[in-house]
Amino acid sequence: MPYTAEISRSNPTSIIFLVDQSTSMSDPIGGEVPQQKADVVADAINRLLTELSVKCAKEEGVRDYFHVAVIGYGATVGSAFAGSLAGRDIVPLSEVADNPARVDERSKKVPDGAGGLVETVVNFPLWMDPVAHGGTPMNRALQYAESLVAAWTERYPASFPPIVINLTDGESTDGDPTAAAEAITSHATADGAALLFNLHVSAAGGTPTAFPDTADGLPDSYAQTLFAMSSPLPSHMRSYAASQGQRVSETTRGFVYNADVTTVVQFLDIGTRATELR
């Protein structure tokens, strides 16, 4: 059965984030508190990198169960890491964990134990900064990811296949991305084909369409294209999505249209959910 390979240091998997950095990402995202889409996406990825680091932390330190790439696309296409990882593509998680660009202090309200809230400061490591400048060269970004995926599957033929997560807010400005998406998912390890998930971030608000299993009811051909590009969720991600209150079926795909802030975070959580880590 595909997508059951245990993830270990000798058989790690890679997670490749493709982050839309086009000008429109500076628009506010739908939701209660107005925030720029680029900020929400950058925050979600930074938070996820912390999450992965904690999840893979063992006695001796962070283990390289995952190797991570964050690729931005807008005015240019390339690594979106800032700080000492700038310019790097796929980086082992232990190195990611140790090398954020900086650690911000963010204020946060927490319960004071007496029924009230008190403002505290928490450390928040950052690996990438929000950028919103340029077009949406999704084709080039997918092709970039494909070259990373191709090299990875060759290097780790027995591993859980690479996961590519594309976060975008608009239509590709360099042509139909379908063929480039297919090229990614045509690569496979012994455990299955590479996975491509797509997250469309909303500016409009409205109800998100999360993890659909059919293109019926999607508002336009753009959404249908993104749906068609998205891989079905492997079974462990399906059951996790179900436990998170999502409605899923056997053919549910890794695709969210019109995501709001909560859905962005949840989507990343589900899409990077690993099989057993050993």
Binding site: E59, D98, P111, V118, A158, A190, A242, E276, L277
Partner: protein, 726 residues
């Protein structure tokens, strides 16, 4: 795996806890934990040690200075509180004096202890233990044979403690067995522990797969849970104690196992690691390895406890070297258990894959009576030869060489009777055969590379062909649209011409209708003037009667006359022209009379024309116009029909195009699926290739060793053996 079906409580993630623990003053209420100082990473975040169900943080109490391990749960575990309470109270009952070593750790389950976001969650507050995991301890200590052997015995004692109290840990493995500074063991992580009070409940986990029987299932939960893993760990420790080099040979630096993995239990035949242990010269090691191999396919509850088997095993281990030479050590391929194991393992048939044979004993062992006889005879024969030579006994048929020849023949015969030779030959043949059956890894890799290159090339072609085919379909569609458009324009232009001509046609029809009406009026007028009633000048009743007889009664009956040259009389006559165009010669009508008739008629015509109608009546006009309008309607309908005919063509072409595109997409995605499967297959083959290459290496080494061993059975060696016994 926690596949969630019902509504379950959501737990915070590891990072959520790490964030909350930045303010222990706020997140805890427990006096020991409130304000406790967490150990931090270099980024200033609380340092976690994470597992599948929880993250553990180290906190030093602000009030007592005591250090704790705080386990924060990231997943729902059914009946968690009840489980921990049962386990905690069972462990609390253990008398430390009765335990082999202080392996159990105190812990306390604290419900609603930590506040994360707006909710409170339980934590497990555990004693912090200063110890290292078994795997890192082995990294540092595997060369200390005595220490490792002692640890193996301590581990065995620990499993005996557990068995005595009907406790099973559920996940014995290198990460949950810690070694303290005095080299005694500590057992941590009690999440999946079985104690008698939990009988009847299900397990919460399946344990580390590199330590568990391949047939352990989700529902296995009971006192026998640890048996397989105990054998695996004991085997590993004993093997390292016997042969420290095994740690570097079989263990991978970051491997999540000691010496053996799940694959080795599942597929012993293809396992280099298990084969190495099975073929190990130390019978304790090979015996334990064979035990593990056979236990892998037996139900958990019939597995012998490690504690019960060990005393006998020890006795066997100490005597094993004394009874050397008793055949092959582990009897691989037969599935038989070593003698010391009989009685502890159910004699159930186990699947035993065909594996390359292990070692035959080195050199010759244990002289038989034949060997002793030869040993006695040989010097006698040599002496005989010398005596014969000295005595000059040199008759050609039995010279002094004869005893030597006889000695060589006898020795050769005796050597050929030695079982070691047959064994060694058989072992070598089997190994060589095994090796021959394996593909040459270099060739196989080359073939794989070629296949893959060929496939990649075909894929590149396919990838390029797809948009081309799509383009072709689109181009054909456009060409059909263009052709249809041309046809439409042509047909409509014809119809438009006809429509344009209609107004002219109307004028013509109206004019013709008027002319017809007028000529009808004139004809009518003429037909009313009978020649007999108002005869023209010179036409009498007689002539009128003749004319009437010829069919000319009225002015309408003729249209004129024609002069006729009468050649017979050389005179000019005339014939009358009837309205039908026929000419008729009426007797008595000469040229003059004909002219008179014609003048008469012309006068009548002129007077009729003066009174003829000059326009059509409204109804006549309308009827003509209606005819034209209906023609116009007909043509317009035709024009429309062309439009819809072409539209139908367009729709058909479009459908054809869409069908073609769909078919192309379908074919392409089918080909894509196949390509994906093919790539998966390639990856699978690469993995197999790597394994194959390792097995090939091991087998080659074994063949080499077998050859060496065979060299140890040479004639010279046999001679030595005859007298030295080795």
């Amino acid at each position: 795996m926690g596949s969630a079906t019902g509504p379950q409580r959501q737990f915070p993630s590891g990072a959520d806890y790490a964030e909350a623990l930045q303010h222990t003053q706020l997140c805890f209420r427990h006096p020991e934990l409130k304000g406790a100082r967490p150990e931090l990473t270099k980024l200033g975040l609380p340092r976690a040690i994470s597992g599948a169900f929880a993250s553990v943080f180290s906190l030093t109490s602000a009030s007592s200075g005591q250090r704790y391990a705080i386990k924060c749960f990231t997943r729902h575990v059914p009946d968690q509180e009840r489980r921990y309470e049962s386990i905690s109270s069972r462990l609390a009952q253990l008398d430390p004096a009765e335990l082999s070593q202080p392996w159990n750790l105190g812990f306390e389950y604290l419900p609603d202890a930590i506040s994360v976001g707006s909710h409170r969650y339980p934590v497990l507050k555990m004693e912090w233990v200063e110890a290292v995991t078994l795997s890192s301890w082995l990294d540092d200590n595997h060369t200390h044979r005595f220490a490792v052997d002692r640890l193996a015995d301590r581990f065995e004692a620990l499993t005996r403690d557990l068995a005595t109290h009907e406790i099973a840990h559920g996940d014995l493995q290198h990460g949950n067995l810690l070694v303290a500074s005095d080299d005694t063991l500590r057992l941590v992580d009690y999440d999946g522990m079985y104690v008698p009070a939990l009988a009847g409940m299900g397990g919460t986990e399946r344990g580390h797969r590199n330590y568990q029987s391949p047939i352990r299932g989700n529902d296995d939960f009971g006192a026998a849970l640890d048996r397989f893993s105990a054998w695996v760990i004991f085997l590993s420790l004993k093997a390292i104690a016997s042969d420290p080099a095994l740690w570097n040979r079989l263990h991978e630096p970051s491997g999540e196992f000691l010496l053996l993995t799940e694959d080795d239990f599942k597929n012993p035949g293809g396992s280099t690691r298990l084969q190495t242990l099975l073929a190990h010269p130390d019978r304790t090691v090979s015996g334990l390895a064979d035990q593990v191999r056979s236990l892998a396919f037996q139900p958990l509850d019939v597995l012998p406890p490690l504690a019960a088997a060990v005393p006998r095993q020890r006795a066997a281990a100490t005597t094993s070297s004394a009874v050397s030479g008793g055949g092959t050590a582990a009897a691989p391929g037969t599935g038989g258990l070593p003698g010391w194991m009989t009685g502890h393992v159910s004699p159930q048939a186990t699947p035993t894959p065909n594996v390359p044979s292990a070692t035959a004993p080195d050199g010759f062992h244990t002289r038989t009576p034949l060997d002793i006889a030869i040993a006695v005879l040989l010097p006698l024969m040599l002496v005989a030869a010398v005596v014969m030579f000295v005595a000059g006994f040199s008759a050609p048929p039995i010279g002094p060489g004869a005893p030597i020849v006889a000695a060589i023949a006898l020795t050769t015969f005796a050597r050929s009777r030695r079982s070691e030779r047959a064994q060694s030959r058989a072992a070598l043949a089997e190994l060589t055969n095994e090796l021959a059956q394996l593909d040459d890894p270099v060739k196989a890799a080359e073939k794989q590379r070629k296949d893959q290159a060929k496939f990649d090339e075909a894929e590149a072609k396919r990838a390029a062909a797809y948009p081309r085919a799509q383009g072709k379909v689109t181009a054909r569609y456009h060409a059909e649209l263009k052709e249809a458009e041309k046809r439409k324009v042509r047909k409509q232009r014809d119809i438009d011409k006809k429509i344009d001509g209609l107004s002219e046609e109307l004028c013509r029809a109206l004019a013709k209708a008027l002319t017809d009406k007028q000529s009808a009026y004139v004809r009518d007028h003429l037909s009313r003037r009978l020649i007999a009633q108002s005869p023209p000048h010179g036409i009498g009743p007689k002539l009128a009667a003749r004319l009437a007889a010829a069919g000319i009664r009225t002015a309408a009956d003729f249209t004129g006359y024609r002069s006729v040259q009468n050649t017979q009389y050389n005179s000019t006559g005339a014939v009358l022209v009837l309205s039908s165009g026929r000419v008729i010669d009426v007797h008595g009508i000469g040229e003059a009379k004909a002219i008179a008739l014609d003048v008469w008629r012309k006068d009548l015509v002129a007077s009729a024309k003066a009174r003829q109608p000059t326009a059509l009546s409204a109804s006549e006009r309308q009827s003509i116009e209606q005819g034209i309008a209906s023609r116009r309607a007909q043509l317009t309908a035709q024009r429309k029909a062309v439009e819809s005919e072409i539209e139908a063509l367009r729709v058909k072409a479009r459908k054809q195009m869409e069908d073609d595109q769909k078919r192309l997409t379908r074919e392409n995605s089918l080909a894509g699926d196949q390509a994906r499967q093919q790539r998966q297959e390639f990856s699978r083959r690469t993995v197999a290739l790597q394994q194959n290459s390792a097995l090939h290496g091991t087998l080659s080494a074994s063949v080499e060793a077998a050859r060496l061993r065979q060299r140890g059975l040479s004639f010279g060696c046999y001679l030595r053996f005859l007298y030295i016994g080795r």
